[in-house]
């Protein structure tokens, strides 16, 4: 593989530059990352059947700055999956590649019945940066989202918000140009190379900061469908107020669609952080959904949630500076879907963190609310 050679070259550079960097003030090559172990327990309805899985996950971020205006970035993740989950999921290894990335930069080193070792490069770009403009080409994250969970404006990224273990989110193979029209205003143009179906996304964003509000206007084509959007982040008294609206125009092959999200966040004097929001998907389902609808859901910028009306409330409290608790509850009226997502985080030592993440899914049946599934994750993370 050509890109393996590239890793070797970059690693050699890390070594030589790290030695060199000791007696210069400019640190030309920087690296960071983490190693995580994630143990998962998946329970079926009523905690009747348990499937376990384990993931050892390493991420490496490399950044090389040969001059003041050029930056090269490569970030990759090595993941070793093993256990029942691998064995019981048909075609487990084939699902690891992110379908919206045009070039295949994913490699399975081991693909056994009970074990899969995969390396994926999810950032690989060059940035040319001048004072008033910059251009970035390659695999990158183009983040146009503003809200916490649902981001209708985030046209270039497909992700599953339940995948808490992938904070960085997948990349997209694209060209992005930013031009700064003022201190706090800019125009951004981006074109992504299509996925396997060769459908590209091209859009422009105008960002302005006005009267304590960040405002953005978005227009472009999502695959072959024209789309327009607006997003904001501002203040109502002492609270934050954010939202995003994205409208997809009807075309012969495509149906009209509007996605709207809005949220308010506030920190109370006793330290509780509370976040209340809603999300509307005009083509979402209104009827009670079964588990298979949710489980087989294909998340995309157009389909951020399968259900039409959705509400979210989140509470976070720092119990001690080392120990934080959070609970998020998502309720979708109409389809009567409930997700209960509590998490606990504990900082064991400077670079070592422990997380307990719980995900429970319920829906309303004729007999009342029933649990559909429960997932428990135990994670240890060492950052470097």
């Amino acid at each position: 593989m050509n890109w393996m050679l590239l890793i070797k070259v970059l690693l050699t550079l890390t070594y030589t530059t790290a030695t060199y960097a000791q007696d210069t003030t400019v640190q030309r090559l920087k690296y960071s990352g983490y190693i995580k172990n994630l143990q998962s327990l998946n329970y079926a309805e009523n905690f009747t059947h348990l499937t376990t899985g384990n993931l050892i996950h390493n991420r490496a971020n490399l950044k090389w700055q040969p001059s003041g205006s050029i930056i090269a970035v490569m970030e990759f993740r090595n993941r070793l999956f093993w256990g029942e989950e691998v064995a019981l999921t048909p075609g487990f290894a084939s699902q690891l590649r992110n379908a919206n990335e045009a070039a295949d930069l994913s490699l399975n080193w081991i693909n056994e019945e009970q074990m899969v070792l995969n390396t994926t490069i999810d950032r690989l770009y060059l940035l040319y940066d001048k004072v008033r403009w910059n251009v970035r080409v390659g695999r990158q994250r183009i983040n146009w989202g503003i809200g916490t969970i649902w981001n209708p404006n985030d046209l270039f990224n497909t992700f599953n918000f339940l995948d808490f273990d992938y904070e960085e989110r997948p990349g997209v193979d694209a060209l992005r140009l930013q031009y700064f029209t003022g201190l706090m205003n800019h125009i951004e143009l981006a074109i992504s190379v299509g996925d396997e179906s060769h459908e590209m996304i091209s859009a422009a964003k105008y960002f302005i900061n006005f009267a304590n509000y960040d405002l953005q206007l978005i227009g472009g084509w999502f695959q072959r469908q024209p789309t327009m959007g607006v997003g904001w982040s501002g203040i109502i008294r002492e609270s934050g107020f954010k939202g995003e609206v994205q409208y997809y125009f009807p075309r012969k092959d495509f149906q009209e669609l509007i996605n709207v999200s809005a949220e308010i966040d506030h920190v109370f004097e006793n330290g509780w952080y509370v976040n209340i929001g809603g999300f509307f998907n005009s083509r979402g389902i209104k009827e009670p959904a079964d588990l298979s609808t949710i489980a087989t859901l294909e998340f995309s910028p157009k389909n951020l949630m399968p259900t039409k009306w959705n509400s979210i409330v989140g509470f976070t409290k720092e119990i001690t500076p080392l120990f934080t608790g959070n609970t998020t509850i998502i309720y979708s009226p109409g389809s009567h879907l409930v997700m209960l997502l509590p998490t606990l985080s504990y900082n064991l030592s400077e670079n070592l963190d422990f997380n307990l993440v719980w995900q429970s899914f319920f829906n309303k049946q004729d007999t009342g609310f029933d649990d559909m599934a429960h997932r428990i994750f135990i994670r240890i993370k060492w950052s470097f």
Partner: protein, 245 residues
């Protein structure tokens, strides 16, 4: 000779003529400057553990500030940007800037005994308070003014009253007590290890101790400070915030 006497005399007269507000103003100017850049360690101390964080800060007047976290590894590259009344947080791993709600400013900053406001100075100890003299005292052998400060009615400040002790000779804020709106003592600030840094005599250790938890504290330890080196306004932007890593 006469000139020296004249200077001494006028200085003495100036001191006499200083109002409480002017003393606070001078102490504030002493630590801030038109612009300042600093590197410091933030040490959070608790009975059973302690953690350290290193940060770099850039400030321009009271309008603009940037705080960049350099360690620990997990938070490395995280940036806080303040422009007038707005504050953003840049998280490089997510490639996302998050605007913070104003109510977050009065909360503990990243688990320390300092609030967000203490770090980026949203409120002004000069503009947002009414100051009055409340006597004299001596701290570590230095003669100090004791000054009471109460927030102006329109200022959005959590404190009910502050009592500052400011060194008479060098205008250094050496000891401050923070009271809530019910007059209860909440925090105690001590400043010590007075050294010349960035061409000025300043306390290089500043500690904040919660009054009800005397065995815990947060200490800011300055390793370098530069004052009044011009920083353009273009530095305090979302664009720049993303480039600091």
């Amino acid at each position: 000779m006469t000139t020296i006497f004249f200077i001494l005399l006028t200085n003495w007269h100036q001191h006499l003529a200083l109002t409480a507000t002017e003393v606070v103003q001078r102490a504030n100017d002493n630590m801030r400057g038109e612009t300042s850049q600093s590197e410091l360690i933030i040490r959070t101390v608790r009975p059973t553990w302690q953690r350290e964080m290193t940060v770099k800060t850039w400030m321009k007047g009271e309008k603009y500030a940037i705080v960049l976290i350099k360690s620990p590894a997990k938070e490395k590259g995280v940036v806080f940007l303040k422009r007038e009344k707005e504050v953003w947080n840049w998280v490089p791993a997510l490639e996302r800037s998050i605007k913070l709600p104003p109510s977050m400013m009065t909360q503990s900053w990243m688990g320390t005994d300092f609030t967000n406001d203490d770090l980026v100075k949203e409120s002004s100890i000069v503009e947002d308070y009414i100051h009055s003299f409340a006597g004299d005292t001596t701290i570590n052998g230095r003669e100090c003014y004791t000054i009471n400060m109460v927030p102006k009615p329109e200022a959005a400040i959590v404190w009910g009253k502050l009592t500052l002790n400011i060194d008479k000779k060098d205008f250094l804020e050496l000891h401050t007590k923070f009271y809530d709106e019910d007059g209860e003592l909440i925090n105690i600030m001590n400043a010590y290890e007075i050294k010349t840094m960035g061409g000025r005599l300043i306390p290089t250790h500043i500690e904040m101790i919660p009054a009800d938890k005397p065995n815990q504290k947060t200490v800011l330890i300055y390793s370098s400070v530069t004052y009044n080196e011009p920083i353009p306004d273009t530095f305090f932007t979302l664009q720049q915030m993303k480039k600091l890593n």
